[in-house]
Every structure is written in structure tokens, then in C-alpha cells.
């Protein structure tokens, strides 16, 4: 069977997508922790029995509740400095006063990444640490089946009322006696989400028929997403929250009875980064305030200096004790002791004993060698001393000594609790190694196959002879297949932990095994061929290193260097620096190449023209192995360069790398990304702050105008008009949602969702893409007219540019302008004159695409994904378009460069008929190299400290990128169709 390189590359990528998906499924396990909750209520420990005879403690039941009513106010994205810092002082005066002088305890709760709402709610209510996979299923949260506080409270007959984010309603269906869920998906809604919660408050606070009230306010998070933590809107929102807290607190105080006090808990689910988003693990994102306010607490005398640091998971255990409920089985949290500090020593000891017992039982279920765990040992010792203390207590000894002794026991318990929960937290990650290994094997085999077929795929015909049924390797194939199936059976029957690959149906598993062995046989036959070829007398000259140009060396070194850099967490965090560095160097080398091309030819032309030509001939023979008409290109190169060195074009051409460098430098300071320098001021923040709205409007308008001028050159008239109207629509959409202003509009206009405007633009996007596709189809089916084809491609491209212009935030529009500008300059002054081959062009496009991914403000953390792009023009959250739009907005840079590559290569077809196929192959290769290596690296580093905060998000990005690349390559292959027709003719 004959295959073209494009088809070959796309099919390889499809297989690779499968492998990566399997790996991801194994790497992000669905957390399986403990027994189902139905058995949870079972045995509860009594107080440790005193050793002496005849004495039995009478405390065997759960201690009674400490608080009558509990109100939990959860403010989404409440960062610690919003309450404890200067903002708190300014905007939350009541809360600040309660913290400083009222009966309250305040803490800073530390949150584990991923700092996204749903896993955080789970952590707050179950006390466990949800796995990273929760981020992915965050959007459609199913009911929480683990043992949790809400379920315990409901079983104990408590009446729970909930208002706020409807994630809770999905997580705890039928648990609330009354609820009103607000959806969090419309990010630009700041007031309505919170008013929907507050409107119930007056009524509920008057009533007596509830025990637990939970309020989840989303407004602050939305403000953070859209405007960042320093916007004035944050202050207004905090003041609103302060008033709500005041209302609740006063109402709770007024209803208090002497016997049982009420409790008000204020917390945040996660913080907010300096850019206003969340998901990662920067200090701002993981530190949230946690306040307990109740009249039983001691009044604080002086202002609070520095709140104590606790874990977010500690809240579940503390609330369970406060409400008189059993602590959730999976909780890894510790009781926050000051909250129960007002109780007697015996009660306090009882609480920590319960907590310790629960933790040590969890440890027993999770580790076989639990007895050797230091936490467990500590706990056993503490339990013994506790028993002794009870004995003394029951003997009626009630002196100062007993109290001191009790304090000592308490200290022992706390030590044990801390050790236990830290050793439990370490076990969160349980990897499904078998699925991961299968994924790795598939991905590595694909990579090897691609690497081995480089010489064939980049030959002038760009075709393969793929042997499907040579007799030799059919036997090998069956043997390998059988062996793998045997391994599969052995692994799956012996594995005690849950394995995704084993739980698949047998047919699928056997299919995957056959795929693996087929790939392996393919690799073996490719290797055999390579050996055969090398044994034959060498026909084609071997590439010697001396014939490599600087560009080749740089491209190779850059690709390999980037791949190696992925092993270091800092380089993953700061990957944008790698790409910026590489494209800068690329531009400089291109500049040098241009310089040499211009000056040397000029100098040597009179005397040495023949020798120079000779040189070039030798060069191009080695370099351009893919150019079929070598003679033409040689002559063409010399003549074009000579002609090119005339005229003023020469100087523009010489300046172009420098202009590109300056563009890149400007873009670099537009969005600071990464981790270490992300907090530095950048133009993006300056533009988005509300004082600079007019500057932003001006910039957006100029950018849209520039986009029009850069794109329209190669469009048909209809598309030109559609483009112009579409870009106008983009501006009016941004004006409608309040990002930019029209010059004639002065007062603040009411902000709408801009649905109409956005849909207006969508119509034009679809129109342009449709007309482009029509041209493409025409050129494919009816006539193979390359002019029509390139117009069609360019129209598809410009439709995508319009879509990107709509989805990008207004301050990012310059990124799009510079993208188009650089592409135009590169094409006109660098790539065309210097006659690079398809492989070099492809790698350069890939590098620029990667750099633009980061220029847009993306990073390798989850937090930088611009979720608001998924809601442009949508009334409410609709899953599929939202995911598509978000992915498009995030990967716009690489995508636009890839499509531009296709445009460029198909315009080069006249020079090199296999250019598109080569481009597709190289694109697939440069993409699968980092993925394959990264997957292996992550497997090796799976117990690294930063695996969840640094490496896993990057892994997700890589996975999505492979998927997108596969789509692009399919598009390439479809476009390459023409070529095959021509070849057959």
C-alpha cells in the first residue's frame, strides 16, 4: 500500500492521540479512597479505657453538639489579604472589628491545588484532598458519594438550607430542605449572582426551622476573573459582603440562648492570583481566610497580628465536632483546637481522640504497613496517656496537676494528628501504572516510526511503500500479539488496585494490543530497511555536518533543547522564556543569513560569480533534498538573490528581522506570564485597569483596523466587506459588554451581555469560512486551480482571524496584529527570498506558534485559561460550544500559525510539489517529540513535589495540543489531496 507522507503523519498522530488519552486516563486516577459511607456510621470509639480494674468511662457516644445554629458564608475567591490586609481594613470594617476585638478566632486556611471551586467544596465538606481529575469533571459535577459533613448532618436530622453556587446542589442532591442554586457560568455577571443569594437572607434569618445555613457568594470570583484583584469593583463587593456578615452576625446574636451558642464561619474556597484567576498554586491562590465567630469565644484584647496557618481540610473535622457529628471517614483534617478551647479538658481530649481515631483508621485502610507509621505510633502513645489521665480523673483527682497533665496529653495528640494527616495527604496520588505504560508504549512507537521514516517522508515524492503483509513479520506479529495478550491477562488478574485499561472490554484491549504489535513490526521492518540501504552502495550522499547551515543547527538544537528542558519544573513554569529565547535567536540568525545573502553576493558577483554559484550548487544539493527540480532552484536562487539585492527592498529586507524582534519584545511586555515574574507590571494590566479605558479603546480600534488591512489583501471582495463588518461587530461587542467605549459615549452605559453583537460577528465568521470552503471544494473537485485554492485557504484563515479577534480580550488584539504583521514580513522578505525548504519553514512556524501561545498571556498553569471566551455570544452555559470556543481562544496562536503554514506551503507548490506533505509530516514530528518525551519524564517524576502544581497542568496542555495538532494535520492532508491527483495524472 502506498501512503503519502501527509496521510502517514496524520494517521500516526491519530494513534498518538489514542496513546496520550490512555496515558492521561491512567495518570489522573479517579480517587478511590475509603469504604462507602453507608458503613461509616458504624463503631465509634469510647474514651480510652483506664487501665485500672473496675473503672469504665461512661462516655461512649458521640459528644453533643457545641453550637445550635451554624451559618457558613463561603465567599468564592476570597483571598487572605482581602480580610486581613489593607483591603479588609478599608472595605470590611465590621469584620475587621470583630476579628480584632470581637469573640472570634481567625486563621489562614491553606488550600491544595487545583484551586478550582468544585474540588475545594469537596475538600471543605469531606476533609479529603480531591485529585486533579476533579478539574476536568468540574464542569459537570456529579453527586458526591463519599462520606461528608452534609450527609452526616442530614442523617443526624439537621435541617440544612443552601443558597448560592449550584455546584452544591449537584454535589449534594436532596440534602437541603431548601435551596436556590445560582449558576456560575456567566462570568461577567457581578451583581445578580449575589443578589439571588442575599434576597433570601432576611426571611431565613427570622425563621427558626433550620440548623445549618450555607451561603456561597460568587460575585467576587467573577470580578476577579474579569477585572483582577486590584479593580475598584473588588472594594465595592467586599463592602457588600461586610454588610451581609454584619446582618447575619447581629441576627445570630439576637437569637442566642444561654445554653447553646450559634456559630458563624466565614471562609473562601480558594484565593485569587495577581491576574485575578485561579487554579494554580501561587501564594495568592492558596491562602484564604477562615473565621469562626461565636459568643462563646474569648474576646480578643488587642488587634490580631498574624493569623495562624491551618489546612482547608481542617474545617470539616472542626465543624463535625461543633455540630456533634461523626467526623467524615475520608477526612485528613485536624481539629482546630482553639474553637473547642472553651470546653473542659476532658471534652477536649475526647474530641482529639475521636479525630485521631478516625485518622488512624483511614491510615489502616490505605497503608498495609500502618503500624510503622510515626503518626500511628504517636497516636497509640497518646491514647495510653489519655487512658491514664481518665483514670486519675475518675478517681476524683481534680487539681492543677491534672490540668497540666491533660495539657501534655493534648499536646501529644496534636502532634500525632499532624503527623497522621501529613502522611495521609502524601498518598493522594495513586497512579494506574499499567494504563500509563500502555499509553507510553503506543506514543513512543509512533515517535520511533516517525523518526525512522524521516528520509523517506522528506524525499521528493513524499510517498511511502507501507508493506502490509510480508510473510516474515506476520509470524512475528502474531507472536508479539499473543505475548502481549498474555501479559495483559497476567497483569489484570494479579493487580489489586483499580486499573482503567483492565476494565475496558476484552475486544478493545485486544485491539489495542494488536495495534501495539503492528506498530512494533512496522518499526522493525523500517529498521531492517535502513540496514539494507546502508549495506547497498551509497547512492544518495550522506548528510555531512559541514553542509548544515546555521539555521539547521539552530532548529535541531532548539527542538532538542526545548524537549530536554521539560524535565525541570522551573523550565516548565517558565516555558515561555524558552520560546522567546529561541525565536529571538532564530530572528538573529535569519538576519545574519540575510546579511550574508545580500552583501556577499554583491561583493563577489563581479569577479567570483561562478565560484559562488558553485558553492551554492553544492549547498543546495545537500540541503534541499526535497526539491525535485534541483537545476531550476539553483539558478533561481542565484538570480533571484542578485536581483533582490538591488533596489530599496534590500534595506527593508535587512531591517525585517529587527522589526520582528522589536514586535516580539513589545508582545513580551504585553502579558507577563509564568510564575517567577508573573507579578511584574505589564501593559496588559495597565490597559485593563479602569482608568485607562479610553487608551484601551483606542488601541483596540487601531488593532482592528490593522487586522483588516493585513488580512484583506488576498480576500475576495465579498469577504473583504464581511471582514470589515465583522471587525466592526467585534468592537461593538466589546463596547456592549463594557470593555471599551465609543468616542461619542461619555456617561457609563448599562452593561449587557452583548449577545446580539457577538452573534452578528459569528454570522460573518461562518460566512467567510463558508465562502473559503466553497472555493476550496471548487478547486478540489472541478478544476485544480491553485489560485482559487490559495484564495480559499486565505479566506478560511481570515475567518479564523476574525473569530480570534472576537474571542481575544481587547488588550490582546495587538497580539493578533503582530501575528499577522510578522507572518506578512516573514513571507515577503525572508522565506521567499531565502528559499527555505518546507521542513525549515514548518519548524519556524511551529516555534512562532508556540511563542504566540504565551504572548497571548497563556502559561502552563490551569489558571491562565481564559474561560470567559467560552461565553461569548451564549445566553447560558452550553457545553460543546463553550469548550470549543475556550480551546480555540487558548490555542489561537499555534492554530493561526499552522493554518498560515498551510497557506504558505500551498502557495509554494509550484516550486516543490510535495511541500504540503513535508510540512504536515514535520509538524507531526515536532509535535510528537515533546509529547512523547514529556510523558516519559512525567512518569519518572510522578512523586516529584511539584507534580500536581507544575507538571500535571502542562500534561493536560500537551494532551489538548496533540489533539488539536491531529485535527490540523487532517486538514493538511485534505488540502494535499490535489497533489496526489496531479501525481497520478
Amino acid at each position: 500500500m502506498r501512503l503519502r507522507s501527509g496521510v502517514f503523519a496524520s494517521s500516526c498522530l491519530l494513534v498518538e492521540v489514542l496513546g496520550v488519552a490512555l496515558f492521561l486516563r491512567g495518570f489522573f486516577p479517579v480517587p478511590v479512597r475509603s469504604l462507602p459511607r453507608r458503613e461509616a456510621g458504624g463503631e465509634l470509639p469510647a474514651e480510652p479505657a483506664p487501665t485500672g480494674p473496675g473503672m469504665v468511662s461512661n462516655w461512649t457516644k458521640i459528644p453533643p453538639p457545641l453550637f445550635k445554629k451554624v451559618v457558613i458564608v463561603l465567599i468564592d475567591a476570597l483571598r487572605d489579604d482581602f480580610v486581613f490586609g489593607s483591603k479588609g481594613e478599608q472595605f470590611m470594617p465590621y469584620t475587621k472589628q470583630v476579628i480584632d476585638r470581637g469573640p472570634s478566632y481567625s486563621f489562614i486556611a491553606e488550600v491544595k491545588p487545583p484551586t478550582v471551586t468544585m474540588p475545594r467544596i469537596k475538600a471543605l465538606m469531606t476533609g479529603s484532598i480531591p485529585g486533579f481529575i476533579d478539574v476536568i469533571v468540574n464542569l459537570n459535577s456529579p453527586a458526591l458519594l463519599d462520606d461528608n459533613l452534609i450527609w452526616q448532618a442530614k442523617t443526624a436530622g439537621k435541617r440544612i438550607i443552601f443558597y448560592g453556587d449550584d455546584t452544591w446542589v449537584k454535589l449534594f442532591p436532596k440534602h437541603f430542605v431548601e435551596y436556590d442554586g445560582t449558576t456560575s457560568f456567566f462570568v461577567s455577571d457581578f451583581t445578580e449572582v449575589d443578589d439571588n443569594v442575599t434576597r433570601h437572607l432576611d426571611r431565613v434569618l427570622k425563621r427558626e426551622d433550620w440548623d445549618l445555613l450555607i451561603l456561597h457568594y460568587l460575585g467576587l470570583d467573577h470580578i476577579g476573573h474579569v477585572t483582577g484583584p486590584n479593580s475598584p469593583l473588588v472594594g465595592t463587593k467586599l463592602r457588600e459582603m461586610d454588610n451581609i456578615l454584619k446582618k447575619i452576625h447581629i441576627s445570630l446574636l439576637s437569637k442566642e440562648e444561654a445554653s447553646l451558642p450559634n456559630l458563624l464561619v466565614v471562609c473562601g474556597d480558594h484565593g485569587m492570583s495577581e491576574t485575578g484567576s485561579h487554579g494554580g498554586s501561587s501564594a495568592g491562590e492558596v491562602h484564604t481566610p477562615l473565621l469562626f465567630i461565636s459568643s462563646t469565644f474569648e474576646k480578643r484584647s488587642g488587634p490580631l497580628t498574624q493569623p495562624e496557618l491551618v489546612q482547608q481540610t481542617d474545617l470539616a473535622s472542626t465543624l463535625a465536632v461543633g455540630l456533634g457529628l461523626p467526623i467524615s471517614r475520608n477526612s485528613v483534617g485536624n481539629l482546630i483546637l482553639p474553637v473547642v478551647g472553651g470546653r473542659t479538658m476532658r471534652e477536649q481530649l475526647r474530641f482529639v481522640h475521636l479525630n485521631g481515631f478516625q485518622l488512624s483508621r483511614l491510615l489502616q485502610e490505605n497503608t498495609p504497613a500502618y503500624e510503622k507509621d510515626p503518626g500511628y505510633e504517636h497516636f497509640k502513645i497518646a491514647e495510653k496517656s489519655h487512658a491514664n489521665w481518665i483514670k486519675l480523673y475518675l478517681e476524683g483527682n481534680n487539681s492543677e496537676i491534672l490540668l497540666n497533665l491533660g495539657k501534655k496529653v493534648l499536646k501529644q495528640y496534636l502532634e500525632a494528628l499532624k503527623t497522621l494527616s501529613s502522611s495521609l495527604s502524601k498518598q493522594v496520588a495513586q497512579y494506574d501504572m499499567y494504563s500509563m505504560m500502555v499509553g507510553i508504549v503506543i506514543v513512543m512507537e509512533v515517535l520511533l516510526l516517525l523518526l525512522l521514516s524521516i528520509p523517506k517522508a522528506l524525499s521528493s515524492r513524499a510517498e511511502f511503500e507501507v508493506p502490509l503483509s510480508p510473510p516474515l513479520f506476520s509470524l512475528l506479529f502474531y507472536l508479539v500479539c499473543l505475548m502481549l495478550c498474555a501479559v495483559h491477562v497476567i497483569v489484570c488478574t494479579s493487580a489489586e488496585s483499580l486499573c482503567y485499561f483492565c476494565s475496558m472490554s476484552w475486544f478493545t484491549a485486544v485491539g489495542v494490543m494488536m495495534l501495539i504489535s503492528a506498530l512494533m513490526c512496522g518499526i522493525l521492518s523500517a529498521i531492517a530497511k535502513v540496514f539494507d540501504n546502508s549495506r547497498l552502495p551509497v547512492k544518495n550522499p550522506v548528510l555531512s555536518s559541514s553542509s548544515w547551515s546555521e539555521i539547521d543547527v539552530l532548529i535541531l538544537a532548539g527542538t532538542v533543547g526545548h524537549v530536554l528542558s521539560l524535565g525541570a519544573s522551573s523550565f516548565v513554569e517558565e516555558e515561555h522564556q524558552t520560546w522567546y529565547f529561541l525565536i529571538n535567536t532564530l530572528c538573529l540568525v535569519l538576519g545574519q543569513e540575510l546579511c550574508r545573502n545580500n552583501f556577499l553576493l554583491k561583493e563577489y558577483d563581479p569577479q567570483h560569480s561562478t565560484t559562488v554559484k558553485q558553492n551554492f550548487e553544492e549547498d543546495s544539493e545537500y540541503k534541499n533534498i526535497d526539491i525535485p527540480a534541483v537545476d531550476d532552484s539553483k539558478l533561481g536562487k542565484a538570480t533571484i538573490s542578485a536581483e533582490f539585492s538591488r533596489g530599496s527592498d534590500k534595506w527593508i529586507s535587512l531591517a525585517s528581522p529587527w522589526i520582528i524582534l522589536i514586535c516580539c519584545r513589545l508582545l513580551r511586555s504585553l502579558n507577563q506570564t509564568g510564575v517567577q515574574w508573573a507579578h511584574q507590571p505589564d501593559f496588559g494590566h495597565w490597559l485593563t485597569s479602569s482608568e485607562h479605558k479610553s487608551e484601551l479603546s483606542f488601541l483596540a480600534a487601531v488593532s482592528l483596523l490593522m487586522i483588516f488591512f493585513l488580512v484583506q489583501r488576498r480576500c475576495s471582495l465579498v469577504s473583504k466587506i464581511a471582514m470589515a463588518l465583522g471587525l466592526l461587530g467585534v468592537y461593538s461587542y466589546r463596547a456592549a459588554i463594557g470593555n471599551v467605549i465609543f468616542p461619542w459615549q461619555h456617561g457609563s452605559k448599562d452593561i449587557s451581555k452583548g449577545i446580539t453583537e457577538a452573534r452578528f460577528v459569528y454570522v460573518f465568521v461562518l460566512g467567510i469560512v463558508f465562502s473559503g470552503t466553497k472555493d476550496l471544494l471548487k478547486s478540489q473537485v472541478i478544476s485544480s486551480d491553485s489560485g482559487m485554492k490559495s484564495t480559499g485557504l486565505w479566506e478560511v484563515y481570515s475567518g479564523l482571524v476574525l473569530l480570534a479577534a472576537l474571542l481575544f480580550r481587547p488588550h490582546n488584539l495587538p497580539v493578533l496584529v503582530f501575528c499577522l504583521l510578522i507572518q506578512t514580513m516573514m513571507t515577503k522578505y525572508i522565506w521567499r527570498p531565502l528559499k527555505f525548504d518546507a521542513a525549515q519553514i514548518t519548524v519556524m512556524h511551529y516555534w512562532f506558534g508556540q511563542a504566540f501561545f504565551y504572548f497571548q498571556g497563556n502559561s502552563n498553569g490551569i489558571a491562565s485559561v481564559d474561560v470567559s471566551a467560552g461565553f461569548v455570544g451564549l445566553e447560558s452555559y452550553v457545553e460543546i460550544p463553550a469548550i470549543f470556543l475556550t480551546a480555540f481562544a487558548a490555542y489561537a496562536g499555534p492554530l493561526l500559525w499552522a493554518i498560515h503554514l498551510l497557506c504558505y506551503l500551498s502557495s509554494e507548490v509550484s516550486r516543490n510539489s510535495a511541500a504540503v506533505g513535508h510540512g504536515c509530516f514535520c509538524y507531526a514530528l515536532v509535535r510528537s517529540l515533546p509529547v512523547a518525551v514529556y510523558i516519559v519524564l512525567v512518569t519518572g517524576l510522578r512523586y516529584h513535589l511539584f507534580i500536581w502544581s507544575v507538571f500535571s497542568p502542562k500534561l493536560l496542555y500537551e494532551g489538548v495540543h496533540v489533539f488539536i495538532t491531529a485535527t490540523i494535520c487532517l486538514f493538511f492532508t485534505a488540502m494535499d489531496h490535489n497533489h496526489s491527483h496531479k501525481v497520478q495524472d
Binding site: S570, F571, E573, Q577, Y580, F599, E603, Q676
Partner: protein, 219 residues
């Protein structure tokens, strides 16, 4: 003839290497509180000045490019002034390139500029000594097979090594190790210096190794 020439080159390069080493050692003995890391900017100045002087002196003593025609004093002075201007311009160009690579535009200007002076000393100054203010000659030397004597080959190698060293020196900056040498521009200037020293040592050895293959066209 060639052997002697290579030996002279080697000696000259060794002198340069020693001058670099001495800049790190001698001031520390003379002046309390001097360390290469701590008072890096001072070291940058000292190193640039020393290497520059050594280069100029060596050039005057050895005269690797014997210019056939004698020139007048006025011509010499204009040549010297031209060299100064070229050197200054190269500092500015290096500064611009470093800023384009991502160094802050407004902050730490002194550091960036001193680093670009160091780079100019390692690269441009040598070119000026060897080739004079003649851009065409520079382009000739820095293109493939453009060197016409072992001195020019050595120039090629040391220049490329210094720049590559500075390029590699930027690698550790994003790492979160919080080491004193990761501060801008220490790692880069170290990289450039090590590259320069390595180039000085490699150049004569490489020329010696390849002396059979190296055939220089006469002018």
C-alpha cells in the same frame, strides 16, 4: 613558518587567559571586600578594561596583519577615532539585542550596559584590532571559509565562543534555585567569559589539529 605562527598565537591567547584570571584574583588581594559575585559590576569594568588593554598591547607588539602601506599620522588618528566610535556603537547594539532578548528596558540599565561592554570587549575590540574599522572585511571573515590567516581563524573561534557562552549563560536564569550567580547579568557574563577563555584555548589547538586542511587564500 606556520608552526611558529601557531606558537605565537598560542602564547598571545594564553596571555589573554591569564589576564582574565588575574582580574578575578588580583583585585581581591588588593582591595578588601571585592568578590566577583558580590561586586560584580566592578569586576565587569576591571575585566573589560584589562582584556581590552591586553588585546591592544598584544596587537601592537605582534602586528598580525602586516599592513604593507605606511599611513600618515592623521590617517592613524582618524582610524583610531573610527575604532572608538565603532566600539561604542557595538556596545549600543549589544545592549539593544540584550533588551530584545528580554532584559528590562528601564530597570538595571547599568548592569545591562556593562555586560554589553564586556561582550564588545570580547568580540568587537578584537575585530577592530585585527581588521580595523572595515565592515566589508568583517563580513568576509564571518562568512563560511572567509578566514585568511590563522589569526583570523582564531578571531572567528573566540568571537563565536564568547557569544555562544553568553547565550548559554542565560539558561540558568529561569531556574528557581535562588543562587547569587543567577542574578542578572552574572550568569550571562560568566558564560561569556568562560566562552571567551575556552575559545582562546581551543583556537590554537584546533588550528594545530587541522593545519593540514587549512589552506588560506592569499589576499
Amino acid at each position: 613558518m606556520k608552526e611558529v605562527e601557531i606558537r605565537r598565537l598560542f602564547a598571545a591567547n594564553l596571555l589573554c587567559v591569564f589576564s582574565v584570571i588575574l582580574t578575578a584574583v588580583v583585585p581581591a588581594l588588593l582591595w578588601d571586600g571585592f568578590t566577583v559575585l558580590g561586586t560584580h559590576l566592578v569586576w565587569l569594568c576591571i575585566c573589560s578594561v584589562c582584556v581590552g588593554t591586553v588585546n591592544v598591547i598584544l596587537h601592537l607588539v605582534l602586528k598580525p596583519n602586516r599592513s604593507p602601506k605606511r599611513s600618515s599620522l592623521a590617517h592613524k588618528i582618524s582610524r583610531f577615532l573610527k575604532c572608538c566610535i565603532y566600539f561604542f556603537m557595538s556596545c549600543i547594539v549589544f545592549h539593544a539585542i540584550i533588551v530584545l532578548y528580554g532584559a528590562p528596558l528601564l530597570g538595571s540599565v547599568t548592569e545591562t550596559f556593562l555586560f554589553s561592554v564586556l561582550l564588545s570587549t570580547f568580540t568587537t575590540l578584537q575585530c577592530l584590532c585585527m581588521l580595523g574599522p572595515n565592515i566589508q572585511a568583517w563580513i568576509r571573515v564571518f562568512s563560511k571559509n572567509g578566514a585568511m590567516s590563522i589569526w583570523e581563524s582564531s578571531l572567528q573561534i573566540t568571537t563565536v565562543c564568547s557569544i555562544l557562552g553568553a547565550w548559554f549563560g542565560a539558561f540558568p536564569i529561569p531556574l528557581d534555585w535562588d543562587r547569587p550567580w543567577q542574578v542578572w547579568p552574572i550568569s550571562c557574563s560568566f558564560g561569556a567569559t568562560f566562552g571567551y577563555v575556552a575559545g582562546l584555548i581551543i583556537a590554537p589547538l584546533w588550528i594545530h589539529w587541522n593545519r593540514k586542511q587549512l589552506t588560506y587564500k592569499s589576499r
